[in-house]
């Protein structure tokens, strides 16, 4: 077996003399125009750039502040621990603070904003960087917030992302593409096509500058899309040296759906995206209301907020905004309750029915959220579920409060980001908000509800605890899979490898031997196959129910194990399928009989290697060969299937040379070879596999 794929050589080249600057990973080319994908997750800026400086953290149990030394940075940049074990972005490094302040200055210019679609600003402090700032749009229709009549847009103005721009934004395995706000997608597309954005970014990359995207309001959403686009292009090109962009948004509306968020987390990008939110800010929640009923409401809100319109900051808000605000609160409560039901383990069957009758927004928070609870504190959350809960519970009204006052406060909160320019450079405390909540006794209710400066209700604390618990549960599930299941899988694979080798010693392909089922070892192989199927089906089932962490499908070790499994065992499933002539009952293996466990593992591999989806079907070689044989046996002539035979030969040739396909298919007694020899002489002599087939 040639199982050499998947290792990584990394060369660390300091970009500048600064200690701890962005590291460069050079990846080897495997000789077939394919780059290996970097294995280590992209390091979040705050851990890469952390220096030996004193930073402040909040001591959570006592509530007292203390200063602690951060541990020294790891000696090798590659020895970074996986993202999940890192102390979540609970502390911003000093460099990060400078960058954030810098972004705030760009997003809230003192001079009136120019009319250009974005601004570039180059800086050399704290490190050479190029910041791209996107201005907000203040019009609801016409390319601003709600795409007008874009084809395929949902009730919330959402549309599928363009797979050529965002190939990773999908759920691997099931292949469902992510959805995002159609208007923002279109606006970003227009920027790419109609503005110097691409060339400016390329120039900055060539100058080895760190790329930063930022924006206020809808500009922040565009910045998020830009950052993901940038990460996509860099990783596809294999040039990950610049792939630590930094995205800082201020009061940005939600951009994408759950798949979007899942994909970003799977790729390890979520820590590059920092979303600053003033807890009461109305704007981030706007996508949670169904579009059809509220377009005028959104426009009224935007008009009120826009610095261009004369009625900026009048006394009191018009009635339409108050109505819209109540509508928004209710929609936000709906979606928060719906999600809470899911992660609290609600077993009620009515939940499924209700989703057909209640319009639920598809949008979910994505990236790291920093709630600006006061000028001294930031509540940091990386858990998307918890962020969604806070998006509602922060807005819950005080019983004495008038709705219109609440609406006005919520609207004016959208212009309360500017102080961040100053506060960032002073001492501001970051609190890992969910960490605080779950650090109390397991299963116990928090006594204080004002930790981290957020004052929320009892329901909110319960929902947040449940969100944290669910995240922990997923980690526990993963740990279980990593332990017992992994060992069992490896053992079974080892015995099947043994089986394959024994067959090859007899000049027989293990595929043919298994299909005949004559010997004891064929039987034993079948038992191993069944055991493995059970183990992998369990994993796939857990993934489908989202019971494993988002990053699971991007983990090198599991992707490799999955590929190993698929290449070794799928031929046995194919053999079993054709041994029982299931193709005559059900249809061909590829169209009807292929189990999910192989589809999933194939897509994991393709995603991690950044190769096009559906291109590594090597494990289905035998199924394609069987289908061709069956068609010829059923009376088709060679001419009818010539093109497919040629394609299969070419594919097999390529797979064999790259080591994805074993040598067993070309053994002299392999059923494929015997069938191939019955093909017309003229074809065979010109075939690319002619040299591989023994005489």
């Amino acid at each position: 077996m040639n199982e050499h794929y998947g290792f990584v050589i990394a060369v660390v080249v300091p970009a500048t003399a600064h200690e701890g600057e962005g590291s460069k990973l050079l990846l080897p080319n495997n000789g077939h125009g394919q780059y290996y994908h970097q294995t280590t997750p992209i390091l979040p800026i705050n851990s890469v750039l952390k220096r030996k400086k004193k930073i402040q953290t909040l001591h959570l149990h006592t509530g007292a502040e203390s200063t602690v030394n951060t541990p020294p940075p790891p000696t090798s940049k590659l020895a970074a621990t996986p993202l999940k074990t890192m102390p979540a972005a609970a502390a911003l490094s000093d460099d990060d603070r400078l960058v954030v302040a810098h972004c705030a200055a760009l997003s809230f210019p003192t001079s009136p904003p120019s009319s250009s679609s974005f601004q570039v600003h180059h800086a050399s402090h704290p490190y050479p960087c190029a910041a791209f700032a996107f201005p907000p749009s203040w019009s609801a229709g016409g390319g601003g917030w709600a795409a007008s009549a874009s084809p395929g847009a949902g009730a919330f103005g959402d549309a599928k992302v363009d797979p050529s721009l965002f190939p990773s934004l999908r759920s691997v395995g099931s292949g469902v593409p992510a959805r995002a706000n159609a208007a923002f997608l279109a606006a970003f597309r227009a920027l790419l096509d109609g503005s110097p954005l691409q060339s400016e970014v390329s120039r900055a990359v060539a100058e080895e500058k760190r790329i930063i995207f930022t924006g206020h309001s809808s500009g922040g959403s565009i910045a998020t899309l830009a950052a993901i686009w940038f990460l996509e292009t860099c990783t596809r090109r294999g040039s990950v040296n610049q792939a630590h962009p930094f995205c800082v948004t201020f009061g940005a509306p939600l951009v994408g759906d759950n798949t979007f968020n899942h994909a970003v987390r799977r790729e390890g990008w979520s820590q590059c995206i920092l979303n600053f939110v003033v807890p009461l800010d109305i704007i981030p929640r706007i996508p949670l209301t169904p579009l059809a009923s509220v377009t005028e409401g959104i426009q009224a809100v935007l008009d009120w907020l826009s610095p261009h319109t004369p009625n900026f900051s009048p006394s009191g808000v018009p009635l339409i905004i108050t109505q819209f605000y109540e509508n928004l609160l209710r929609s936000t409560l709906s979606i928060a309750s719906y999600e809470a039901c899911s992660f609290m383990g609600c077993t009620s069957s009515i939940l499924g029915t209700l989703t057909s009758f209640i319009e639920l927004s598809p949008y979910r928070p994505c990236g790291t959220y920093l709630f600006m609870t006061s000028s001294e504190q930031l509540a940091v959350l990386t858990n998307s579920d918890a962020v969604l809960q806070l998006l509602f519970y922060c807005l819950q009204l005080d019983p004495q409060q008038q709705l219109c006052d609440a609406a006005e406060r919520s609207l004016s909160a959208h212009w309360q980001y500017e102080p961040i320019k100053q506060s960032m450079t002073q001492e501001i405390v970051c609190v890992d908000y969910l960490g605080v909540i779950s650090s109390t006794l397991p299963g116990r209710q928090m006594s204080s509800t004002t930790v981290g400066g957020l004052d929320v209700s009892k329901e909110a604390m319960l929902s947040l605890s449940a969100a944290g618990q669910w995240e922990k549960q997923r980690e526990t599930n993963q740990a279980k899979i990593d332990g017992a299941n992994c060992t069992k899988i490896r053992e079974a694979l080892k015995s099947l490898n043994e089986y394959k080798r024994t067959c090859e010693l007899h000049e027989v392909s293990y595929y043919d031997s298994f299909k005949l089922q004559r010997e004891v070892h064929d039987f034993n192989a079948n038992v191993s196959r069944l055991e493995l199927a059970g183990l992998w089906d369990e994993i796939v089932e857990m993934l489908r129910k989202r019971e494993l962490p988002d990053g699971f499908e991007g983990r090198q070790d599991w992707v490799n194990l999955g590929t190993l499994y698929r290449r070794l065992v799928e031929p046995l499933d194919i053999a079993n399928y054709y041994r029982h002539s299931k193709n005559e009952d059900t249809g061909s293996y590829l169209s009807k009989g292929r189990p999910r466990r192989y589809k999933y593992t194939q897509e994991w591999h393709e995603q991690l290697q950044r190769i096009s989806f559906g291109s590594s079907l090597e494990s289905c070689f035998w199924a394609m060969a069987e289908e061709l044989q069956a068609e010829i046996a059923n009376g088709k002539t060679f001419e009818d299937v010539r093109d497919r035979v040629v394609k299969l030969e070419n594919d097999a040739h390529g797979w064999f040379l790259s080591g994805c396909l074993g040598k067993d298919i070309f053994l002299s007694r392999s059923s494929f070879v015997m069938w191939w020899k019955t093909l017309p002489e003229k074809h065979r002599s010109a075939s690319c596999i002619a040299k591989l087939v023994p005489w």
């Binding site: 109540e326 609160l329 209710r330 929609s331 409560l333 709906s334 309750s337 719906y338 809470a340 039901c341 609290m344 383990g345 609600c346 077993t347 009620s348 069957s349 009515i350 939940l351 499924g352 029915t353 209700l354 057909s356 009758f357 209640i358 319009e359 519970y393 819950q396 009204l397 005080d398 019983p399 006794l441 397991p442 299963g443 116990r444 209710q445 006594s447 209700s457 009892k458 329901e459 319960l462 929902s463 605890s465 449940a466 618990q469 549960q473 089922q517 039987f523 079948n526 038992v527 055991e531 059970g534 089906d537 369990e538 029982h580 002539s581 005559e584 009952d585 059900t586 249809g587 009807k592």
Partner: protein, 665 residues
Amino acid sequence: MEDARGGEEENSMFETSHVLGALLASSPLLARAWDRCVAAADAAGGGGGGASPGFVHDGGEEGGSVYVAFSGVQAALSAAAAGCGADLFNPVGLRGDAAAARLFAPLVAAEPEDPAGGEPVAVQALALRGFLRLCGSPEFQMLLNQIRGKAVVFTGHSLGGAIAALVALHYLCTSSSSSTFAPAPPVLCVTFGSPLLGNDTLNRAILRERWAGNFCHVVSQHDVVPRLLFCPLNAVPAHIIIGMQLHQLPVRARRAAGVVATVTACMADTNQEALRQLIQEHAGAAAIEQKLATQETQGRSPYRPFGAYVLCSPGGAACVDNPTAAVQMLYATFAARCAPETGAASPEAAHSCYGELVLSIPQHLLLKRRLGATAITPAVSNYDAGISLALEASGITVEVMEAAPARQWLKTSKRAGQSPSLNCASLARRLGRITPCRAQIEWYKAAFDTNTGYYDAFKQRLSPKKFAKANMYRIKLGQFWDGVLSMLDTSQLPHDFHRRAKWVNAAHFYQLLVEPLDIADYHRSNLHRTRGSYIIHGRERRYELFDKWWKQRGFTGIATGDTSASTAARRSKFAGLTQDPCFWARVEEAREQTESAKSERNATVLAMMLECLHKFECHSSELVESKDVSIDVVAPQSSYSLWVKEWNELKLREEVRTILFQFQS
């Protein structure tokens, strides 16, 4: 001990009924449904009753949902005219009524055949009558055609809700039996303050069909109507339900109908406190009975809830979907009389407050409630805190007496909701572990495929070592599947377990592979002589059930593709397993019969025997020709091959040939 374990579990558990209630209440769904209910009542009252079809509908444009609201006014008027007899709320068996049996075919068909299996599916007479009258009207039939394929909400207040539930059931029955493979469009039934509709058998039938999630009953805390039918049939104050319904009529319409006056007068006479006592007593009895799981059949009301119940108070809503918990919460919320001002509200007001509730609950949910005093209680678990919120949402404050049992009931229902799916998951893992045993038997089968076939090898105990192993695996598999069935019998598994493709397929494969060995065992020990024929007297219950599952398999995809493909394309080689699980028992019977036919002198008896044999010959040769049998059947030394030889010899005889000639012509 048990508490400690329970506490451990509770750490990761969260109560969700109030969260689900918040989802329902925050959406515009309930308010929209209520608006239609009001419109339906207006239409029924304003039109003078006779001209109105009894329902209103709207929506459905551009893929939105259709709302159909039903009014119970007509049913109530006719009942009032008939004098409000107690028989209005008698249970009517659906099977007994020819029209109903047709309209609710899937519900009735799934009923156990023998009367000992429990009471038949029954619903209350008044609602059924109202529904049947609707069915007869052309407007209603037109409506059914119009809404086909769209997302529909059926709704109704009071008796109208009970009729809406019957319409929804009928609609589900027809869309489940329609032949289209497209997924059925979503259906939701929302009732407001409706009386109980059917008995526990109906509830179980709805669970089995997986329709419980399509029903949502909104009940306010002090409404008597949804709780009245817990009273024994002879004690049901029928006029209350009728009167409550008629109370909705606009005053001018009420004056027009004289009967209304009598009913309202009758209602005014009723002692409200006595009514409350009556309901509290019987709902309480029902709640306790659910807890003890004992069935007191004598004099109890047959009516039980089904679907999800949304228990509303002005402060929130809690949604419980477990029928047991629904009974208990219906009692607990009613009995928890805490705030005197709401408790003093008239029953009429409590029955017609839904319009205010659907508006006030969402507004209340947007407020941040601060529980200053109670929040101090130290270190409550998340789970307990959640239950407190759920109780509060349904109108039970922590201080009242009913809070403690209600808390316990909610906990029990949560466990009951979780355990079936957990059991199913662990069973799936056990199936994975037992599958190698099946592979062992496949291997055993393959060893004899070319000489005697595994049936005869097992029967004759050829190669004792292999036999002993195969026998052990046979017993192990049998134990596993018996275990599965006993879990299913005690409802420890999801109610749709026997409809899930994974399990039906696994059970079917197991049966086809292993039942021949059981048949061999039966005949080896000559049980067919002592007990009688295997097919009638010897089959294990599991095989009969698996047969039924396989025949009834309703899941789309594999199964349907399978049958259509196999009829279209013939097999090119023998099937992996013989498709008739009892094939070998038939062979054994045929061999016996052939043997006795050889010495049979009586011509009539002989003719009968030959007819049977001829039938079997047709059956078996058809199977063999279509290659629906496995290769072992036609193995040279197999019982079947031997029988074919014997049969052919017998056919050579003169008298046999003449008799057979008659069958063929």
